[in-house]
């Protein structure tokens, strides 16, 4: 099954994991300690995140660290920007429409 970044962020726990390791890489135990759900469940989420390319696991001595791959997140940001742009355009058009409407109403009330 092909996984992508959108599947990664579809789940709230996975979003929280990304948020946690975004600023600094963390070892797997430290990540798990931040959540109330079971260790295997966290491992499963981390596995999905690595399959999506959002996290890489790096072995340092005995510890395994999670590191976020920010390049993958750019894809999401661009995509959200598309919608932002779309809605901003629509709201611009709505503003124009409302201005036009009040203009014609004023004209009517003056005549």
């Amino acid at each position: 099954m092909r996984r992508d970044v959108f599947q990664a962020i579809a789940d709230p726990t996975r979003r929280a994991i990304i948020g946690l390791v975004a600023s600094q890489s963390m070892n797997l135990n430290a990540v798990a300690e931040n959540f109330d759900i079971s260790r295997p469940a966290i491992s499963k989420h981390i596995k999905i995140l690595t399959e999506c390319g959002l996290l890489v696991i790096k072995q340092t001595g005995r510890e395994r660290f999670c590191e976020v791959q920010l390049k993958q997140l750019n894809e999401v940001s661009q995509w959200v920007d598309q919608y932002k742009l779309f809605w901003n355009s629509k709201l611009d058009a709505l503003e124009t429409h409302l201005a036009k409407k009040s203009m014609s109403k004023n004209k009517r009330s003056r005549s």
Binding site: D4, V5, F6, Q7, I9, A10, R15, A16, I18, G19, E75, V76, S77, Q78, W79, V80, D81, Q82, Y83, K84, L85, F86, W87, N88, S89, K90, L91, D92, A93, L94, E95, T96, H97, L98, A99, K100, K101, S102, M103
Partner: protein, 144 residues
């Protein structure tokens, strides 16, 4: 990681009743939004429209109204025919004197697959909407 939620606010120089009509009356929606066959602000009402980057590349949008509080809030689902995933768009209105603050919230777009979203690439969308806005705005300004 809340960046898959889009929240925009815009203050309109119009009373709340006018803004509500503009977002719920099909004749007014045609002027700024989409040309719909029919629109009724009722929970369960479904509507659809096509939109896309070019004449050749059009996507069928499927929507169903999930919440209506007259003059206050309108929410509908927003998905793409033939693609998995569902998102929700809500319009909330707040009176600010004789002006109206509109808060637009679009959630759940993270549920759409990458394949669908490539179709809505920024440059593609921009080309279409730029034309609509610039032309309609220009016409409006020239009439005044």
């Amino acid at each position: 990681m809340n960046n898959e939620i889009i929240r925009l606010e815009r203050l309109f120089n119009a009373p709340i009743a006018n803004v509500w009509t503009a977002i719920t009356n099909k004749d007014e929606m045609k002027a700024w939004y989409f040309d719909l066959a029919e629109f009724k602000p009722e929970v369960g009402f479904t509507f659809q429209f096509t939109g896309g980057p070019s004449k050749e590349e059009q996507y069928l949008h499927l929507c169903e109204i999930t919440e209506v509080i007259p003059q206050k809030k309108l929410t509908y689902s927003w998905r793409y025919d033939g693609y998995p995933g569902i998102s929700f768009v809500s319009f909330e209105l707040f009176a600010e004197g004789d002006k109206t603050l509109l808060r637009l919230t679009h959630t759940g777009i993270g549920s759409f697959p990458e394949t669908a979203t490539n179709a809505f690439a920024i440059s593609n969308f921009k080309a279409g909407w730029d034309a609509i806005i610039n032309i309609s705005l220009k016409n409006y300004l020239e009439k005044v």
